[in-house]
């Protein structure tokens, strides 16, 4: 067995998580090759130390905030637009389009007012589409504050 072969087989042996002693081929090479003997010993010490890696308990605060994730948050509801408004805005938009087109070509006060009202409607519509993005950011901030 060559040294490279020894290293590869030793790694595979560790991957198999076997508790038994080294297979014959490995121990035969190790007994005649001090370098591989050292390599093997330190690999096994490392392997065993990693099996004993400490498990850390998450804090009670973290556990508490994880359990709260599923509760609807009052502050989220307050800033959220209702689905009714969204539906209303979706209905309004097709009706609004001809007026918007007109408003851009006419300049009377009445038309400007109409255009403003319709632009407001459009804003509500656009914001309702963007709402999930805003909520995503907000939701994250709220939960981090809870930690």
């Amino acid at each position: 067995m060559k040294c490279e072969e020894f290293k590869e087989s030793l790694q595979n042996f560790l991957d198999a998580r076997e508790e038994r002693d080294w297979p014959n081929g490995l121990s035969a090479h190790a007994s005649s090759c001090p370098q591989c003997r050292t390599f093997g010993d330190s690999m096994i010490a490392l392997h065993q130390a990693m099996q004993r890696l400490p498990r850390v308990s998450p804090s009670a605060e973290l556990m508490g905030s994880l359990k709260k994730i599923k509760q609807p948050d009052a502050s989220l509801v307050k800033i959220g637009w209702g689905p009714e408004i969204r539906r209303g805005a979706q209905l309004l938009l097709p009706l609004a389009l001809p007026y918007i087109a007109q408003a851009f070509s006419l300049t009377t006060t009445q038309h400007v007012l109409e255009a403003l009202i319709l632009l407001l409607g459009m804003t509500v519509f656009v914001m309702s589409v963007l709402k999930p993005l805003f909520l995503g950011v907000h939701e994250r901030r709220v939960s981090l504050e809870k930690l």
Binding site: S57, L66, I69
Partner: protein
């Protein structure tokens, strides 16, 4: 499995996985929160294309690695000179390498794992901490099982060199 049971069953494991990959408690806590928010959002749409646990671990791996690459790990590491022979654990016939591995209940070794290249740290933590098999790790990291072996082998080799390298410092 409902959300409460998922928290009950996975929270501690996910926190520890994130802690080993990221190397500090603060990042691990934020990562864990982020993972559970994603689980909560996605749970309704989860159709079982993969096992629930694979899906959860995949989210954990992705969120941890994203955070890690964003922060480029400023973590507790072994400074030169920090690796010294501590008289407290000076036992006859125990070599410095073994003492390093045992120091502070393995916390120093854990710190070195977080310094490994991202995928190696993930694979090592899934293998040793979560006691997963090749094919489970492969499904989570979305790589072939052969690559899992490569990551584990390289990770171990790198850790061994780091530990021996640290030992040689004055």
């Amino acid at each position: 499995m409902d959300f409460d049971s998922i928290v009950e069953h996975f929270a501690e494991r996910i926190f520890n996985q994130a802690l080993r990959v990221l190397g500090n408690r603060e990042d691990a806590e934020e990562t864990t929160t982020d993972v559970f928010m994603r689980i909560h959002r996605g749970l309704g749409d989860f159709r079982g294309e993969s096992q629930l646990s694979t899906w959860i671990w995949r989210i954990t791996a992705n969120v941890s690695l994203t955070r890690k690459s964003r922060k480029r790990v400023q973590m507790v590491s072994l400074d030169a000179g920090e690796f010294r022979d501590d008289p407290r654990d000076d036992e006859l016939n125990s070599n410095p390498e073994e003492r390093f591995l045992a120091r502070e209940g393995g916390e120093e070794l854990a710190g070195l794992i977080a310094e490994l290249p991202d995928q190696e740290a993930s694979a090592i933590a899934l293998f040793y901490l979560q006691e997963m098999k090749y094919d489970e790790i492969a499904a989570i990291l979305q790589i072939p099982p052969g690559t899992v072996a490569t990551l584990l082998h390289r990770g171990r080799e790198r850790l061994r060199k780091r530990i021996r390298g640290e030992r040689k410092r004055p």
